[in-house]
Each structure stands twice: as C-alpha cells, then as structure tokens.
C-alpha cells in the first residue's frame, strides 16, 4: 500500500485542496479574507448543477444497467443504518435532540466532498458511473426523517404527558426534506443531463468540465475559511463529539467499502459510494433540523461536520479510502471474501 502515501500527497498538492488550507490559514492569521456569502451560495448551486449534469450525461451514455438497482438499494440502506447507529452511540452521552440532529447530519451527504472525490478520480484517470449522482440524491433526505423520528420516539417515551415542542408533522418534514432546494437541483440537473445527452455535453462541457476545478477551488477556499472559524468553537463540543466526528467517517467508510465490494462496484464507483457514507451534511440537514427541532444546538453540530469531518474526508479520507479499495479490488480480496 505504498500508493497510499503517494496518493495522499498528490491529493494534498491538488490546487482545490490547497485552497482549503489557505482558507484555514487565513483564519489563523486573523486575516479579513472573505468570499461574499452570495458568491458562496452561487458556488454551491454551481456544484450541484455541475455534478447533476455530468452524472446525467454519463447515465445517457451508460444507460440503465442492473447494477443501478443494487446501488440505489445500498444507498437507501446506508441512509437508514448510519443515522440509527449514530443516534444510539450519541445518546449515551448527549440529549436526544442533539443526538438526532447529529445522526441526521452524518446519515446524509456532503456535495463538496463528493465533488472533491470526483476531482480526485479525474486526476487519477479512474472512471466512475453517472448513476452515483442519483445515489447521492437518494441519500440526502432519509436521514433527516430518521433523525427526527428517533427524537420524537425517545422523547415521547421519556416524558409522557409533556408536550413535544418540535415543529411539524412527520409528513410535513418528509415533504420538506424531499423538496429541499439542493435535491431538486441535483435530481433536476441529473435528469436534464440525461435528456440533453450528447447535445447537452456539447452545449455545456466548457461550463461543467473545463471551469469546474476553478470554482471548486474557490468553494474550498470559502469552506476553509468557515471550517477555520468554526474550529474555535469545537471546544464546546468536547472530546466525545470531536472523537465521534473523526471516527464515525472511518466506520461508515468501512461499511461502505464492504457493501461496494459485495455488490461488485468498480473502484471509482466504490470510492464515491464510500465517500457518500463517510461524509456529513453541513447545509441541507442542519437547515432542516433547525426548523423541525429548534432544541438542537447548531453550535455543536456545525463545527463537528464542518471543522472535523469535512476536512478529514477531503484531505486524508479520500486518498485513504481509495488506497484501501484499490488494494482490495486488486488482490481479489481474500480479505472481504467472507462476504460471499
């Protein structure tokens, strides 16, 4: 696994990752460097547009294979398992509200982490299928519903008679989770990429391929600044939550790699799937949770997802996961043979 170190280093030296570091350094220097919020929002819209269109065009070329069914099932499975497991781990130390909120965040996905993994594969010339993007869309919401459901269930148990002050019925929450702007844009772009096919490729490839890395670099610079400024408030989270934010990605990635191996994904798809499992949402899910469960403390959740798990995944996680996948896939993997 000597490739491990080399690929970590190569990842570290890719321009977008370096801009993430620059963002953190700017905060440490107390610099006033700032990406205007509106631009940051544009970048996140661009990223979903980009991921969706590229996925749709690839789907147009590959067509629907039987593999897709397995992958989608795997995505749903992980979107349910991860928040449930997380919730029970978290509940041992923190209250139900925050346990559910954090569980929901880790059960969902981070689009930038996904895009960074795509950029990593691009640099390594490894192919991944377009339908992984559909998997990402599928994994975005279920965890929100699971998280809120768990909170209510355990609150009802504990405090019978006490009003539950979290907002909205499960149905409303489900509806809101599914019509979330980022899902609509991602799925919409995926379908549009598929429908537009070759002509879409011709029309948009400069926009979605050639300038992609530049916008990704900008976005990571912005996230570096945000992550850096959240690091200070990590102290509030305490050792348990910081540890959780560091270890749970590894646990979820391991699960992800096993499932990917079991359903025989190629190594590119396997990395993307693993990254979906290992990443945590720091925009869509917290926003939804904040509305439905005002008792959840964003001061705990956001620094974990943004200042620990996200940097870990893009800096070390991606090359490590890929090295492991590569090793197993190339060695006919006696390691995971028990899966059959």
């Amino acid at each position: 696994m000597s490739m491990n170190l080399e690929s970590i280093l190569q990842n570290l030296l890719s321009a977008p990752i370096l801009f993430f570091f620059l963002g953190i350094i700017a905060v440490l220097l107390k610099s006033d460097l700032e990406i205007p919020p509106t631009i940051a929002k544009f970048l996140s819209i661009y990223l979903l547009f980009d991921i969706g269109i590229k996925g749709g065009i690839e789907l147009y070329h590959s067509g629907f294979t039987t593999e897709i069914g397995y992958i989608m099932a795997a995505c749903v499975l992980m979107a349910l398992i991860v928040p449930i497991v997380s919730f029970f781990i978290l509940k041992t130390k923190i209250d139900n509200y925050n346990a559910g909120a954090i569980a929901a965040s880790y059960g969902s996905v981070s689009a930038v982490t996904f895009a960074t993994a795509q950029a990593f594969l691009l640099n390594q010339n490894v192919f991944a299928n377009g339908y992984m993007v559909a998997g990402m869309a599928i994994m975005e919401s279920p965890a929100i519903v699971v998280g809120i459901f768990l909170i209510r269930h355990y609150n009802a148990k504990q405090s019978i008679g006490l009003e539950d002050s979290s907002h909205g019925s499960i149905k409303t929450i489900l509806k809101e989770a599914l019509t979330n702007g980022s899902i609509v844009l991602l799925l919409g772009s995926l379908i549009i990429g598929y429908l537009a096919g070759d002509s879409g490729e011709k029309e948009l490839h400069f926009f979605v391929r050639d300038i992609f890395k530049g916008f990704l670099a900008f976005y990571l610079l912005d996230l570096g600044i945000i992550a850096g400024s959240k690091m200070g408030s990590l102290t509030k989270s305490g050792a348990f939550l910081i540890g959780f934010a560091l270890i749970i990605p590894l646990v979820n990635a391991t699960l992800g790699i096993m499932i990917a191996y079991f359903i025989k994904l190629n190594s590119g798809d396997a990395l993307l799937f693993t990254v979906l499992c290992a990443s945590a949402s720091y925009i869509a899910v917290p926003a939804a949770i904040r509305m439905a469960v005002p008792q959840a403390n964003m001061g705990l959740l956001l620094p974990m997802a943004l200042a620990v798990t996200f940097p870990f995944n893009i800096i070390l996680g991606i090359p490590i996961y890929y090295s492991v996948i590569n090793y197993i896939w190339n060695n006919n993997s006696h390691i995971l043979s028990f899966l059959y």
Partner: protein, 97 residues
C-alpha cells in the same frame, strides 16, 4: 400622520414564510425583509452567518395599525418560545397616508 406599531422580527430565512403566514392570519399583509450578514443571539450562542444557509437569518419588519398589534403578538409569540431569534415592537409615526 398616524401613530403606528413597528414589529421587528428575526427568524431563519427558511422560516420566514411561516411568519408571513402568521402575519397574514393577524390581518397584516405588508412587510419588508432584509438579508442579515451575520448575527449572534442567545439561543446557542452561535454566530449565524449568511454564508451557510443552515444558519442564515432574515430581518423582517412591518408597520401596522395599533389595533393589529395584539392579534399579531398572540399568534407569533408561541413561535418564539422555542425558536430563538428576535421579536420586538416599537412606536412609529406613519407619514405616508
């Protein structure tokens, strides 16, 4: 010249439509919403920054007739019992007839 009430509210951007609904239920149809760059409240002591939609808030205000004040408070107050943010009123004089 008419003495009126200015209602000022800070909520998450995502919730602003719910507050608009509550205002309309109180008979208030006029409002103005401004983006907040950055803020801090006492709920989680978190610095809400417009850079992350998850913590983005808006600042809304409505200038309303004094008669409408009571109803608005009754309907909107419960919302703020759990949700942080800001809900204040003050006196203004309307010049626009």
């Amino acid at each position: 010249m008419l003495t009126a009430i200015k209602i000022e509210i800070i909520v998450s951007k995502a919730q602003s439509n719910k507050i608009i609904d509550l205002l309309e239920k109180s008979g208030i149809y006029e409002y103005t919403i401004l983006d907040i760059y950055k803020g801090r409240g006492n709920k989680d002591g978190v610095v809400s920054h417009s850079v992350n939609s998850a913590t983005e808030n808006v600042y809304m205000f409505s200038v309303v007739k004094q008669e409408l004040k009571q109803k608005a408070i009754e309907l909107i107050y419960p919302y703020f019992k759990t949700s942080g943010g800001l809900f204040v009123i003050s006196d203004v004089t309307v010049i626009d007839p």
